[in-house]
């Protein structure tokens, strides 16, 4: 297959060797599991269990609400001990409504929905329904409900299902290990998803720095003509949905549009495996593979974690910390977000936990911009980071939006490359948040305006009704005061 170049990008130190030879191991069941109601993009799930209720592994704990949402299931059998707020695995450290489960140690499955023997004879809707009820979301980290994305085939003709095994973030090796150890499951999940989408072709894209994964996936896909396993260049951010699509189609996804416009839908390898588990065995999403790495961790590992385990348990399982970390990062070092503490749960979107040392965090004081243009050269979206940051610094967010700050997907390449250590991507994150907040505020004020206009109308209507009633009463009185008529009517 012919590959196309993508714009810009960087080549950071990958440090994948810390964990790439560590096979996936299961985390011993923790004493308590913390399952937040919002582990996905969209509306939070609504609890359907009550405190004290006994549940078995795979039982529904909270159901999805609305079109874009995902349910949450019990990661093991046990008792619901509390439904309360717990610190979210989010840089804000805000509390979030969470179901707390105390495992009973049996880890027994509930009565699962029947396995689907031949998913290829089923309609796309039946598969989507199964995927939706299994609570599967994009496991690459974006956590967008997978079933919604599998529905794109009904709106557009999808030519290719692109399975993303690029894993371009440094340190992370969970997808690499998944592909090496569960290649057949990923291939099966991919075939099911392609069937649901109505996509004739499947492309599995893996960066060249994972030769064993490439080999395993090629072997697993050998029997299927529709599947092509390709090796893509090692270039951050190759694993971005839009850039990977560009690498295989040569076309750029238009701003604010989906890759589906180009006939391509992208899913992560972990999502493919989860779909396999859900369709073939009826198992909902209750665990995921997490890379625990970084210089401050005693022994980095790839751990299969029941959702809801505390990050501190993962660190302890890795032999604890070797030194005081400068930063705890949720996800990869490029796009990951700092964690407020170690006492936050692993959720569906947790791909990695990194404990970075002072040397790795590499925090340096900001210096004046030297106009080297490095950020402009490497921006994979073709934006001008230096100019956007200058506008944002002067609080001119509209100007920054005018030159495309909302098209930035925060890959962090500009901040990485900047010789003056200017926090470029941090400016863009701030600007995007602020612009979104203004948008919400505008919508709120529009709503207030509509409400008060409706009220004025209502008051007018009431006054009108009163006037009419008064007029009618006056007319009736007048009629009553004429005795002849009154008699006639009697």
């Amino acid at each position: 297959m012919r590959l196309f170049p993508i714009r810009g990008g960087i080549h950071p130190k990958y440090r994948k060797e810390l964990t790439s030879e560590q096979p996936i191991v299961a985390l011993p069941m923790p004493a308590r599991l913390y399952l937040p109601l919002q582990q996905h993009i969209g509306a939070p799930a609504e609890p359907v269990v009550s405190v004290g209720q006994k549940v078995r592994k795979g039982d529904l704990l909270a159901r999805g609400q609305g079109a874009v949402s995902a349910p949450t299931h019990a990661s093991t059998s046990g008792v619901v001990v509390e439904i309360t707020t717990v610190t979210a695995p989010h840089p804000s450290g805000l509390p979030q409504l969470t179901i707390i489960l105390e495992p009973d140690g049996k880890d027994e499955w509930t009565d699962l929905p029947d396995p689907i023997e031949d998913p290829f004879s089923l309609s796309g809707d039946a598969i989507r329904e199964r995927v939706a009820s299994s609570g599967i979301v994009g496991l690459g980290g974006a956590t967008f409900p997978a079933a919604v994305k599998l529905n794109l085939g009904s709106q557009q003709k999808i030519e290719t299902l692109l399975i993303n095994g690029a894993e371009c973030e440094p340190y992370l090796t969970c997808d690499d290990r998944l592909m090496r150890e569960y290649a057949a499951e990923i291939v099966d999940g991919a075939r099911i998803m392609a069937h649901a989408l109505g996509a004739p072709g499947i492309v599995i894209a893996i960066e060249r720095n994972k030769p064993q994964a490439l080999e395993a996936m090629r072997a697993a896909a050998a029997g299927f003509d529709a599947i092509e396993v390709i090796d893509v260049p090692v270039q951050y951010p190759m694993g971005s949905e839009r850039h990977l699509t560009q690498a295989i189609t040569g076309r750029e996804t238009p701003a604010k549009k989906l890759t589906a416009e180009l006939g391509v839908v992208v899913h992560n390898v972990g999502t493919a495996r989860a779909v396999h588990q859900s369709v073939r065995f009826g198992r909902p999403l209750t665990r995921r593979v997490v890379t625990v790495s970084g210089g401050a961790v005693a022994q980095g590992k790839n751990i299969e974690v029941p959702l809801g385990a505390m990050v501190s348990e993962l660190i302890a399982f890795c032999g604890g910390l070797r030194e005081e970390p400068r930063r705890i990062v949720n996800g990869g070092p490029m796009m990951g977000q700092p964690l407020p503490s170690l006492e936050v749960p692993v959720v569906k979107g947790t791909s990695g936990i990194l404990a970075l040392t002072v040397a790795e965090a590499n925090e340096r004081p900001t210096q004046p911009c030297i106009r080297c243009g490095g950020c402009v050269t490497i921006c994979p979206c073709g934006l001008v980071p230096v100019e956007m940051a200058a506008f944002i610094r002067k609080d001119n967010l509209d100007a920054a939006a005018g030159i495309g700050v909302t098209d930035c997907f925060s890959c962090g390449s500009c901040s990485y490359i900047c010789p003056s250590h200017i926090p470029l991507v941090q400016y863009f994150n701030y600007a995007k948040g602020e612009l979104a907040a203004r948008d919400r505020e505008r919508r709120r004020l529009d709503r207030v305006k509509t409400l008060s206009e409706t009220r004025v109308e209502r008051l007018e209507r009431q006054a009108q009704a009163k006037r009419e009633a008064a007029a009618a009463a006056a007319a009736a009185r007048k009629a009553a005061s004429v005795p002849s008529e009154n008699k006639a009517s009697q």
Binding site: V448, L451, V456
Partner: protein
């Protein structure tokens, strides 16, 4: 030299006359600026700015008598929109502090007098005579009119809590990017 001065002066006088005539004969009755400003205001007629309603506030803004930060429930975004339209620099430092609020009825204190219901400009309070009233939070825009009128102080104004959905990063430190 003289020709240049003369021709420019003549041009100026001619165009000035045209403009003067246009101003007299093509004048618009309503101040278009006022209409535009009124569209930027929330339109809830809450009266917190001290004017009777948003129309009067817009008129005062157009005359330059009111500061662009007059609208409390509109907050920072309205102040910014107004300052942009009027081309004046707004001092938004105070507005940073004001967080969105909503009204909450403490049921044990409510006597069901209906005063707040009648006062609410967005019909956000549900109630009937001698029945406990309640606020529909999504419809409340935090103007605090009900808070002021309640005879039993049953209404309290609460801060709208920050959620994961609307939390956002702060601007990187002022020391950065010099």
């Amino acid at each position: 030299m003289l020709i240049a001065i003369g021709s420019l002066a003549a041009l100026g006088a001619a165009l000035g006359t045209v403009l003067g005539v246009a101003a007299r004969y093509l004048a618009v009755e309503e101040d278009p600026l006022e209409v535009e400003l009124a569209a930027l205001l929330p339109g809830a007629q809450c009266g917190q700015c001290g004017y009777v309603g948003c129309g009067q506030a817009a008129a005062a803004l157009a005359r330059g008598e009111a500061p662009v930060t007059l609208c409390t429930p509109g907050g920072k975004s309205v102040a910014e929109a107004l300052s942009k339209r009027l081309g004046v620099k707004a001092d938004l430092s105070d507005h940073e502090e004001s967080v969105p609020q909503y009204a909450f009825v403490q049921e044990e204190l409510c006597i069901g007098c209906l005063r707040c219901t009648n006062e609410c400009t967005t019909d956000a309070i549900v109630g009937a005579p001698k029945q406990i009233h309640t606020v529909i939070r999504d419809n409340c825009h935090g103007c605090a009119k009900c808070f002021k009128i309640c005879p039993t102080e049953a209404i309290k104004m609460c801060q709208v809590p920050v959620t994961l959905g609307d939390w956002r990063w702060n601007k990187p430190g002022a020391a950065a990017l010099q």
